[in-house]
C-alpha cells in the first residue's frame, strides 16, 4: 500500500506530481491511498511524491487536465483516487477521454459538474454587507460554498468589484481584495462578518414585489436555489410567508369583479378603426398614397411585413422604374431598391450613364412577401392576386407621376403594369406602346441576375440590362 499525503484539500499540483510518479512506477490504483493530513496509522512516513522534476514525464489529453482541476475541488473523499484511476487507464486506453459513456469518466464528470455548479452558485448567492463606520467603504460577505471553490471564484469578484474593497469569508478559506491584489487566508467563522445591511430591507421589498403569486412554483425555485444556501440569503426568510399567502392572493384576483369597460377605450377603438383604414377614394398626392399604403389591407401581405414601401423620386419624373417587391432591407428601411438588387441596379445605371435621381423608382407590390426560415426571411414571388390587388397603388403612382417611359424590371413588374404576363427574353429590347401614350421598356430584374448560376448567362443578362437602361433613357 502506498500512501500519498497532499498539502491541502485542493492541492492539484501535489496530486499531479504524485500521480505522475506513481504511474511511471507502475503502481496500480488499488495500491494507493490518498490523504490530506498526516495519518497516524499509515505505514511509513515518507512522502510518496518525489521531488519536483523527478520521474519521466508523459502527456495526457488537455481535457483531462481541465476536468481534474475541477474534480479536485469537489468535497468527495474519493476524488483523488478516482482521478488516479483515470490517469492510470489513460495509459492503456488513450481514447478514454472522448468516450462520454464510460462509467469512471461519467463519475468524474458529475463531480466536475457539481463543482462548476457550486462555483456558479457562489457567484450568484454571495451577499455583501457594508461594514459600518469605515472609510473608505469596505464590504464583507459570509458564504458557505457547496464545494471548495472559494479561491477559484475569487478572480471573478475582483474583475467585477474592482473599485471596491471587499472580502468573502468561508469555512474553507477567506479571500480579500484591496483594489490591487487578492489575498487568501484560512477559513473563518460567521461571527467575523457583519450581521446586516440597511439595503437588505429594500432588497426584500423588491424580492416580495417581483414575485407573481399567480405563478407559484416553489419546486422550481428550490431546484435552482437549494435550501442549503438559504441561511445566508437575506431574502430567503420571506419565502414561507410568500408561498403561504399566494393561493389566497391569486384567488382574490381571479374572483374580483372586473371594472366596467372604460368609455375612453371604446371611443379610441372606434377612432382607430375609422382613421386606420385607407379610404376607397383615390389618394391625391404621392405623400398621401405613401401614408395610406401603410394601412392598406387589399391583400394579406401587410401582415408579415414591417411596412409598405412606396415609390420614391421626383413627382414629375419622366421615367419610372418598376421592380417586383421590396426585399429584406427595403422592408426594414421603407425605401425601394436599397438592398443587394438595388446595389446591382445602381452599378448598371452607372455604366449606362443613367441618373437614378431623375427617375421615380417603385415596385409592383408594396409589401415584402417572404417565408421565415430559421433566422432568415426567404423572398417569395407574389402571386397574380396580390399583384392585381396592389395595382391600385401602382396605378395611383402612374396617374400622378405621368412618366413618358416606364422601365419594367422582371415579370411581376410587367404584370403590374400591363395586367398580362409576357416572357422577358422576348419582349425586351424594343419599346412597347402603352395606353395613354407612355412607352414601356422591359428588362431583367437585378435580383434575377443575382441568382443566375451560370457566369456567362449572367454577364449577358447584365449587359442587356445596361442596354435597356440606355434605351429607356433615350426615349425620355
Amino acid at each position: 500500500m502506498r500512501v500519498v499525503r497532499l498539502a491541502s484539500e485542493i492541492d492539484f499540483d501535489g496530486w499531479r506530481r504524485a500521480g505522475r510518479a506513481l504511474r511511471a512506477e507502475g503502481v496500480p490504483p488499488e495500491a494507493v491511498v490518498w490523504t490530506v493530513e498526516y495519518d497516524l496509522f499509515a505505514d511509513g512516513a515518507a512522502p510518496a511524491a518525489p521531488a519536483k522534476g523527478a520521474g519521466p514525464r508523459f502527456t495526457v489529453p488537455q481535457p483531462f487536465i481541465d476536468l481534474a482541476e475541477r474534480v479536485v475541488l469537489n468535497r468527495s473523499n474519493e476524488r483523488f483516487a478516482l482521478l488516479y484511476t483515470l490517469l492510470w487507464r489513460l495509459e492503456r486506453e488513450p481514447g478514454l477521454i472522448d468516450n462520454p459513456a464510460d462509467p469512471d469518466l461519467t463519475r468524474a464528470r458529475d463531480m466536475a459538474k457539481g463543482v462548476s455548479r457550486a462555483a456558479h452558485k457562489m457567484k450568484a448567492f454571495v451577499r455583501f454587507r457594508l461594514v459600518e463606520g469605515v472609510e473608505p467603504e469596505v464590504y464583507m460577505a459570509w458564504f458557505e460554498p457547496a464545494h471548495r471553490v472559494t479561491e477559484a471564484v475569487a478572480p471573478f469578484f475582483a474583475r467585477r468589484f474592482t473599485g471596491m474593497n471587499w472580502s468573502i469569508l468561508t469555512p474553507d478559506a477567506c479571500v480579500a481584495w484591496d483594489g490591487e491584489t487578492l489575498k487568501v487566508s484560512e477559513g473563518a467563522d460567521p461571527a467575523d462578518a457583519p450581521r446586516e445591511d440597511a439595503q437588505e430591507e429594500l432588497w426584500r421589498t423588491y424580492y416580495a414585489s417581483i414575485f407573481n403569486p399567480a405563478r407559484l412554483n416553489p419546486r422550481m425555485m428550490q431546484q435552482e436555489m437549494p435550501k442549503r444556501y438559504w441561511r445566508n440569503l437575506p431574502e430567503a426568510r420571506l419565502i414561507p410567508e410568500l408561498i403561504e399567502s399566494a393561493q389566497r392572493r391569486t384567488a382574490q384576483m381571479v374572483e374580483a369583479r372586473p371594472n366596467p369597460p372604460s368609455e375612453r377605450v371604446l371611443k379610441a377603438a372606434l377612432r382607430h378603426a375609422r382613421d386606420g383604414s385607407y379610404g376607397e377614394s383615390d389618394p391625391l398626392t404621392l405623400e398621401e398614397a405613401a401614408v395610406a399604403a401603410q394601412v392598406c389591407r387589399r391583400c394579406d401581405l401587410w401582415r408579415e411585413a414591417t411596412q409598405a414601401v412606396p415609390g420614391e423620386g421626383p413627382a414629375r419624373a419622366r421615367i419610372m422604374i418598376v421592380g417586383e417587391q421590396p426585399g429584406d432591407e427595403e422592408d426594414l428601411t421603407g425605401r425601394p431598391f436599397v438592398g443587394p438588387a438595388g446595389r446591382l441596379l445602381d452599378k448598371a445605371m452607372l455604366e449606362a450613364d443613367f441618373d437614378r435621381r431623375k427617375a421615380f423608382v417603385t415596385n409592383a407590390v408594396k409589401h415584402f412577401k417572404h417565408e421565415p426560415r430559421g433566422k432568415m426571411r426567404l423572398h417569395k414571388t407574389p402571386d397574380r392576386g396580390e399583384v392585381q390587388a396592389c395595382r391600385w397603388w401602382l396605378d395611383a403612382e402612374r396617374r400622378m407621376v405621368k412618366p413618358r417611359v416606364i422601365l419594367a424590371l422582371g415579370a411581376t413588374a410587367v404584370m403590374g403594369i400591363t395586367g398580362r404576363s409576357m416572357p422577358i427574353a422576348r419582349s425586351r429590347g424594343a419599346p412597347i406602346a402603352l395606353d395613354g401614350g407612355a412607352r414601356l421598356v422591359v428588362s431583367w430584374h437585378p435580383s434575377y441576375l443575382l441568382r443566375v448560376p451560370d457566369a456567362d448567362a449572367r454577364a449577358r443578362a447584365y449587359a442587356q440590362l445596361v442596354d435597356d437602361l440606355r434605351l429607356a433613357q433615350s426615349l425620355t
Binding site: T205, N212, L233, V265
Partner: protein, 414 residues
Amino acid sequence: MSAMAVLDLKRKLAILSDAAKYDASCASSGAEKRNSLSGPEGRGKGVGSTEGMGICHAYAPDGRCISLLKILLTNFCIYDCAYCINRVSSNAPRARFTVKEVVDLTLNFYKRNYIEGLFLSSGVIQTGDYTMEEMVRVAKSLRLDHDFRGYIHLKLIPEASPELAAEAGLYADRVSINIELPQDESLTILAPEKDPAGIKRAMGRMRLSIEDHNEPAKKAGKRKFATSQSTQLIVGADAARDSDILARSANLYGAYKLRRVYYSAFSPIPDAASRLPSMRPPLMREHRLYQADWLMRFYGFTQGEIVEPGEDLDLTVDPKTAWALRHRGDFPVDVNTADRDTLLRTPGLGTRGVDRILSARRQTRLTLADVKRVCGSTKRAQPFIVTADWTPGGLTDAKGLKASLIVPEQLSLF
C-alpha cells in the same frame, strides 16, 4: 386641499417593481464581455462585469430567475392597454422614481451582489419622447458618471424618436419593444393607442442600427452599441391560436433578428379590465410555446411542421414528441448510425446529448445504458431508438404509446 403623500423609497420600490413583474424577460446573457479590471476604456473606477452567461442571483417562489433590478421609472401612463396594470383606467397606486433614485438603487444593489444590472421600463408620461429621454438619462448616468460596467436593458417606447432610440442603444446591452399581442387585430382592440406598424418600424430601425454598429469594419473607434433586441408576446389574453403565435415569432425572428421572443402567460392582475379573461395563467401552454420556439431555433423544425394553421399545441406531450407520434414511420432511429439532423428530431434527445452520442459512437457501439449515461434519461427516447442491445419492436407503433409518454410535468401547485 389634498396633500399628496410623500412616498418613501421603499413604498415606491414596491409599487414600481410590482408593476414590472409581468414582463417575462430577465435575461442578462449575451452582452459583450467586459469587466472593471481592464478593458478598452482602461481599468474601471466603478464596478461591473458581464461574462457572457447571465447569472440568476435569486429565485422567487414562482420559480423565476431574478437577475436584474426590473423596475418601472413610473407606472403613470396616458395609455389604456387592457391587459396592463398601469393603464390609465386602472386604480393601481401610482409612483414615480427620479433618475437619481434609480441610479442609486441600481448601484447599491449591484455592489451587494444582488443583481447583474438594471432592466428599466416605464409607463408613458407626457409624450413618448419625454419618457424615453428620462430612461436614457438613467442609463447614461450609470455608464458615464459611475463607470458602471454591468448589464443594462432598456425598454423602448415605440413612438419615441429614432434618435432617442439610437441613444438608448449606446448605453444599453439590450433593448426591447414588447409587441404583446400575437395578432395586429387584437392589439387594435385591446391596446387602442398602440400602433403595430409603428412598433415594427421601430424594431426594423433597431436591427439596422445594431447590425451597423457591430459590423467589424465600422466597429473600430465607435462607442459600443446594444448587441441584441427582444420582445414579449402575451399568451391567453386574446383568441390567438398557438399557430398564430408561433407564426408571429417566426416572423419576428426573421425580420428583426431578435435574440429572444418571450412568452408570458396572461396573468390575472389586480383591478383587471372586463374585456379580458379572468383566469389562472395558462402556464403549461406557455411552457409548450417555449419548447416549440426552441425547436424552430435549434432543432431545424419549421413552424408549419410543429402545428397546423388554426391549431394549438398538444398540452399533454412536448411538441417534438407530438411530431414524432405523427411521423411514426420515420422511427425507430439507430443511434449508432443516424445523422445529426435525424437524431435531433428524436424525442428525448437534446442538442448536447446528440453531440455526445456522435462523439461516443466513434469509440464504441452504444448500448441503451450508454445512451442513458450521456443523455441523463432514456424514458422518452426508448420507443423511438435502436441501440446495440435494444430495439423497440412494435412499441413504436403501439396504440398506447402516447398515453405512456405523458409524464405529469409539474409546473405549479394547482
